[in-house]
Symmetry: C2
């Protein structure tokens, strides 16, 4: 995770739109899978307003990338050591900054607006954690005002398995799920369209090289297993969740759709934005040794600002821009990414390239940073008022939810995560 | 799921060892992925003591199977309608019963003892249910003696997502997981090798054709989406489970290893063994309409006898055979397979070919049919005595657990499920 010339704020690409681009300056170089108009998906990188076809430029890239660049997914490309992944970054950086490459490379730039973005990986397994301590506290308070966090929370990075099949890239509409719930006032459960549909603001972590079954990943090297990051919206059906989740956890409440931003913001690109993990509050227990690494504590948190915006049909009709519902830092995670990776593999569970880990909802201590409507509306009791005069306790059909993220650090060029948005369609 | 000539008890194969074979008579014809000695994996069927290489015989099989038979997994082969899957069964049956095919087919038979069996599918997602009502009751009694089942149990087929990466075929040893637990008498959690390692006796269900995202699967056609069945051992670390599972369910306690029997006992082979779902006990609520289908109630349960056996190192050293710990019928499931498939897709969650569903532990009301050591030893308080004089509350290193299943029905040839066994290795 070392800093190098690719992080130099003075570095410039010959792609003009990259200069000052809010998401994709040459310091970012995210990996993804895209399809130019009428063509099949292939591997590329975002640069300014364009997408560069890396598959077409394989001859300029390290030999080890050639077989992997022939596939429409990143799994094989990231199944590599950090040194090799950095080598790829350096090669792509050279193509986009060295004027000597300009003529050969330019034909393989596509206007991003004309391309379709696909899921970057064939997702083998998807695990969702619960490390946003303010979210856990806010949700816990709705059920247990005096004792919101369960006894294990500060010892165990709590997680559960999600559904890989339902992970979809930004832009794919969300069909409102039907399901079984039991309204508080009803004697018996009912089946019908979800009435408490919510979003959850999360970061996604893409796994690079995995571990052999039975072999744990030490916390001190866990960061080496991270290929990169994305935004993740863990759409949640709160009414189904409340009825189904005891004793085995969330299931149909969260497996109908999970939206990810399709660009993988690489671990290498994130090097300047590693920050100190906030110290544990006075009185919190020390983590067990398998979860503790001093270097990780010093540089293992993420300097990323997260936002949620909403646009309703009435807002769009009135020409109103999306309305920001919340904003807050990713450092509101109680456990670092290295800690959740090490915990996940601590029992020998094998992680594989392209596995997706969600952080869990990242909230703040105050409502301006709450990461779900469940929190913002206090479980539906305090609806949010929008600029259109409408209110929302939960999402309605036609609403669009947009997650956004920017990594910032003094002295470095900020980089963005790209789009993570989806609109709600009526139940089928 | 119709009966036809392939279920005729008088049918005979020209493969001599198939006659009266306890698992693989010609009426079974399970699908699987095997590797002959020194050769790569390919698709085959078990017949008596042999395995027939179906990939090598593609020219004798329906044209639609040809691309799928070139792969070392069954996903594409089962992504078909029930009629097509039956067509394949009929063609394989003809190869193995018609003497006219004998000479052409025999070179493609391999002694099973010389072959390696692989996972039959690339497992996209693995979901574990909890439909063994006696198991849920027995486990619930350990925590809530007066009220063992939670209020949702008889309304919702409870399930949770498992870990696809950790699913392995019979014979792969289980590395004892390490993990974080909190002994009841301790003030703080500890990390170390699991001390309450258990097995769970389950059936596995392999999905054939899936559903598009957002489109439910009606219960009346849910059985058409089942490719077949296997045995499934949901290895469980009870000490980790007790500490981690609140509020989001089991995680590291169950994702270190899941063993399946590698032969897929097809839905077509199971046609004679469909039985009436036991009526719900007096006073139990009626399921909601999306879970109810009269034909499924009449013929949607499985006439399968299940067994668990154990062999310890001391037993093996003394020449003692494996000891049966329990035996019971698969009809101890509170929900049918069609009900769990329909429930899983009721919110639009997309199931895909090769997805694996576990039933959850299938127990009986009495100890002779308990499906886990947790139940047999009453949470560790009443150890089981083995023929060697040893006792077991939970599994020890070197223990081998063997699951077995036979489908039986009057007037039909019984069929077996094949091996589902694994031995415990020490923690790493």
């Amino acid at each position: 995770m070392a800093l190098d010339h690719t992080h130099d704020p003075a570095a410039a690409s010959w792609v003009a739109s990259a200069a000052g681009h809010p998401a994709f300056p040459v310091q970012n170089l995210p990996l993804g899978v895209f399809a130019p108009a009428g063509a099949p998906p292939r591997i590329g990188t975002a640069i300014g307003d364009s997408i560069l076809d890396l598959a077409a430029l394989a001859r300029h890239l390290p030999a080890w990338t050639h077989p992997a660049l022939g596939l429409p997914m990143l799994n094989a490309l990231v199944d590599r050591t950090p040194d090799q992944r950095r080598e790829l970054r350096h090669a792509v950086f050279a193509l986009l900054t060295d004027p000597a490459h300009h003529a050969a490379v330019e034909p393989h730039l596509h206007p991003a607006a004309d391309c379709t973005l696909h899921l970057p990986f064939a997702v083998g397994d998807y695990t969702d954690f619960y490390v946003g301590i303010h979210h856990a506290t806010n949700i816990g308070k709705l059920f247990r005002p005096d004792n919101p966090l369960l006894p294990n929370y500060k010892h165990v990075p709590i997680g559960y398995h999600g559904r890989a099949s339902s992970v979809r890239p930004s832009g794919v509409p969300v069909v409102r799920p039907k399901g079984q719930g039991k309204p508080p006032e009803a004697d018996a459960p009912v089946f019908g369209p979800c009435v408490r549909l919510d979003y959850e603001l999360e970061l996604g972590v893409w796994i690079a090289q995995g571990n052999a079954p039975g072999d744990p990943i030490p916390v001190g090297t866990a960061a080496d297993h991270v290929a990169g990051y994305c935004l993740l919206n863990d759409w949640s059906a709160r009414d189904l969740q409340a009825w189904e989740y005891q004793p085995l956890g969330p299931f149909l409440a969260k497996n109908f759709h999970t939206t990810v931003s399709p660009w993988v913001i690489t671990a290498e690109a994130m090097a300047p934005f590693r920050v100190t993990q906030p110290p544990r509050p006075e009185g919190d227990p020390a983590p067990l040794p398998y979860l503790w690494d001093e270097a990780d504590q010093a540089r293992g948190a993420l300097g990323v600002e997260l936002e949620v915006l909403i646009a309703t049909p009435a807002m769009r009709a009135a020409g109103l821009p999306p309305h920001r519902l919340s904003r807050g830092p990713a450092s509101n995670m109680y456990w670092t990414v290295a800690q959740i990776v090490a915990h996940h593999a601590s029992n020998g569970c094998d992680l594989r390239p392209g596995d997706l880990l969600g952080t869990g909802t990242i909230s703040a201590p105050t409502p301006d940073g709450y990461g779900s409507l469940m929190e913002l509306s206090t479980g539906g009791k305090t609806p949010v008022t929008l600029p259109s005069g409408e209110t929302r306790s939960f999402l309605e059909d036609g609403d669009e939810v947009i997650l956004a993220a920017t990594a910032r650090a003094d002295g470095f060029v900020p980089i963005g995560f790209g789009e993570c948005r989806a609109t709600i369609l009526p139940a089928r």
